[in-house]
């Protein structure tokens, strides 16, 4: 597939040829959120190392994380975390061989999205309530 030069055999159709479906979008989102979380761990390690380094380092991190762009990134990180978690739970169901029928997998896909959004809103509400 990645050989240089044109492929001399027919290739299987890829993403752009299919009409988007919710299961497909959730599958792609699972990978994207996973990759985002990979780099998102930097947010955690920076905060922890700053906390271990002292009050001035931690103050800088607090100022950046507490700014509007910082909060937006953390909000996105929180959603990615919950979305990947809910998507993972869906995969646990599929691992047992259950939930692969058309109706069920559609419900699971929508459920993943709503659950992740719900959990993120819940976390944000808890943040605001303090």
């Amino acid at each position: 597939m990645a050989r240089t030069g044109p492929a001399e055999r027919p290739l299987s159709p890829h993403l752009q040829i299919y009409k988007p479906s919710i299961t497909m979008v959730m599958s792609i989102l699972h990978r994207i959120t996973g990759a985002a979380l990979f780099f998102g761990t930097l947010l955690l390690v920076i905060a922890l190392v700053a906390l271990a380094s002292g009050s001035s380092a931690y103050g800088t991190v607090q100022a950046i994380y507490g700014s509007i762009p910082g909060k937006l990134v953390l909000f996105g990180y929180c959603w990615a975390l919950f979305h990947h978690m809910c998507g993972g739970i869906r995969h646990f169901v599929w691992d047992t061989g259950a939930g692969l029928e058309r109706g069920t997998r559609m419900k699971l896909a929508w459920g993943t999205l709503f659950a992740s959004l719900g959990l993120t809103v819940l976390a944000f509400a808890a943040y605001l309530a303090g």
Binding site: L44, V45, L51, A52, Y58
Partner: protein, 132 residues
């Protein structure tokens, strides 16, 4: 299976070993699932701890992270999450990067990144915990 044994080209030994072409069988899949299961409760505890942390100043944050239960939960989360993300990123690299040299370089970087993030976080948590 009995059908397979009469028609398959796989040797009986190969079938018994069950390791397949990549020679690692279901190892990658299984480790990814074990860490994923661990990640569910650990992620929830992580978010709760971060929410608690967001309301504290430096001294309060040090005190919170220094509490044994909090420190242990964070350490478990870091360990399980960095292991899991290394497995996941490995699959992404193998899916999209086909040039052998770049693939090997990125797979190594993936491991270095996961270990560096995990170790730095663990060191910071332990330093805060043991200082208290």
């Amino acid at each position: 299976m009995s059908q397979e044994s009469s028609t398959s080209l796989r040797t009986p030994l190969g079938r018994v070993r069950g390791l397949g072409a990549a020679k690692s069988g279901t190892d990658h899949f299984w480790k990814s699932r074990v860490t994923a299961v661990a990640n569910v409760p650990l992620t929830i505890s992580f978010v709760v701890i971060m929410l608690m942390l967001s309301k504290r100043d430096y001294a309060g944050a040090v005190k919170l992270v220094g509490q044994p239960l909090v420190a242990i939960l964070l350490l478990l989360f870091i360990g399980s999450a960095t292991y899991h993300m290394r497995l996941g990123m490995q699959v992404i690299i193998e899916d999209y990067v086909h040039s052998e040299g770049r693939k090997i370089a990125l797979l190594m970087l993936n491991t270095f990144f996961a270990i560096a993030v995990g170790l730095a976080s663990a060191y910071a948590i332990l330093k805060i915990g043991f200082a208290g």
